[in-house]
Symmetry: C2
Subunit: 386 residues, 2 copies
Amino acid sequence: MKIKMLAALALAAGNFVALAQTNQPADDWQPAPSNMPGQQYPQVNSEGRVRARLQAPQAQEVQLNISGVKFPMTKDTNGVWLGDSTPQDQGNHYYGLVVDGADVPDPNGAFIFGSGGWHTDVEIPAADQDFYALKNVPHGQLRELLYFGKTSNTTRRCYVYTPPDYDKKPGKRFPVLYLLHGYNENETGWGHQGRAGLIMDNLIAEGKAKPFIIVMENSAINLPPGFVPHGPPPAGGPPRGGRRGGFDFSPFEHALLEDVIPYIDANFRTLADQPHRALAGLSMGGMQTRTIAPAHLDTFSHIGIFSGGSIATNEIKDLNKFKQKVKVVFVSYGSRESGAAGKADVAALKAAGINSVFYESPDTAHEWLTWRRSLHEFAPLLFQKK
Amino acid sequence: MKIKMLAALALAAGNFVALAQTNQPADDWQPAPSNMPGQQYPQVNSEGRVRARLQAPQAQEVQLNISGVKFPMTKDTNGVWLGDSTPQDQGNHYYGLVVDGADVPDPNGAFIFGSGGWHTDVEIPAADQDFYALKNVPHGQLRELLYFGKTSNTTRRCYVYTPPDYDKKPGKRFPVLYLLHGYNENETGWGHQGRAGLIMDNLIAEGKAKPFIIVMENSAINLPPGFVPHGPPPAGGPPRGGRRGGFDFSPFEHALLEDVIPYIDANFRTLADQPHRALAGLSMGGMQTRTIAPAHLDTFSHIGIFSGGSIATNEIKDLNKFKQKVKVVFVSYGSRESGAAGKADVAALKAAGINSVFYESPDTAHEWLTWRRSLHEFAPLLFQKK
């Protein structure tokens, strides 16, 4: 009995030591790959911890803040604060510092737009980062366009990825993927933290995806004041999709169909027909996709929904038309999201004879590595018609 | 006598009041035009003052920091700090906040790359801002390119402005301006805070400039470790320009002539000859221009030097060749810089029969409004050969 208790105590003590050891960060810190060249901080280690640094001699308290979770930092005798986070998911994270109660960006950080504004960003190398690595392969171009949209009555800004061949083959026309960002993001997200261009460059170089154009527009639901849709009423009456989950997507739906697509078809060498046009998006962009695409089956043939719900068979008004028009429905989630309903919906779509794919990103949540991987899985499925 | 003294005192008092009044900011604050839509701070007023805001209840001292000059901010009962700068030059300014001694970006600010890193940026509307305003005119594209440069042995990133006509007229070829950034800046500067695209769109729409391509490369003097120029030794021996003012520009000179220009000529519809190729730059980019262009008169015909020195006639090795090859030398400064030597050099170049222009930007220093205006003055002079 006594021996058993001692053994239990020893075991408990052993566990405690092990726990303490895992709380001791691995000492293999490297500057984050998102840093500017030569910038030593923030750093990341092999466990996915983030280490921040700030020179703040007079501050009383400094914390590292990753998506609202705050980690203490401590001051050395030179007034320099250092602090580590717990292990984070691989991929990129918005973060900042809290200096005596003030939420501020890290002066050492690089900046991306997302989560409602400009934020400092730290990238934790992913085990599979090779698929979006910068390689010595032919690269496409990422083009910033400005153009006046009559329907949205404003100058719109949009980014267009043209594949490496685009300027080399002036006689060739290309299919188009319209790729939407999430809530509180904008048209810069996919081309920058989404790594859309590098993902496509690598897939095309390996012969794994057809070259196509990607259009990354601003699909924010709050269009400028005075927005008046000028398009004709849709054939078949008003319900064009429109609302979902409390959001009203109809202003963007008008802009996409009446401003964006006509502008792209008039200014790029597109294959301007339904078989060569895809719609996909992440989070709110996925909700927009599953709202807009099924309501416009004469416009879109390929549908991608990343962390943004799915399409239930009982939501489809005309199953025969859907089967005939839709070449693929792709639904994805991070494994740390609730993707069960999406998986079940995809199984039901398959059972109904619709080409559908479910993808789960390992060990990720509602974050950009989920969506980089989703694009990487989705792109090879596009425009594969024999 | 008494009356005179009283009058003098009254006058002095009046002056004092007037002075106090000018220290009282004009109460016409507006969100800065550089803010994200809907973002109320930072604000600017008609005097060019900047007002910053920070929620920092526990901070002891917060300051507004514009290029190293610090302005006190004061805390209200809700823990919100507000503070105003003195009047600033029109145009954009890098700025930040100091929270209990820590230099941090303003969480309300928009971000630009310059002054050695990412900084928050505030734009004070300029009286002449119409020339770089976003208008409903045909817009060119700003393209981000990635390509492997053999000479620099690295993947290079470059931005290319293509004029509105570029994709509309697939049979047409265009002249090219290579436009260089300053020290501690990078290839994003001209396309973003330099407003190069909008300046050109507006000039072209008004018929004031010929449409041409602009190439904005990274001309940083610190090339990656292991840099080995692979180009053949230049005809006529080693002195190709190379050094100036303590900087060694020869690695970039090799990259420009052996990587950048050949890539652009191979991948864009350029007029790939000396009469249709210009080189210009700001600050260090101006120093690079006046070093590299005169050493390569068979490559460049138009020279623009913005706040970066000038070309003295006695520096020109072969005046006859220079006169024959160079169509324009443009030199500019802000009125708050020391441009006298540049002005004298331009007068001497003119006297020597070389088409030269000096431009002084009113009420600006070594800053982006000087360089936006310089591009606006320089562009109409380019490629005007009958």
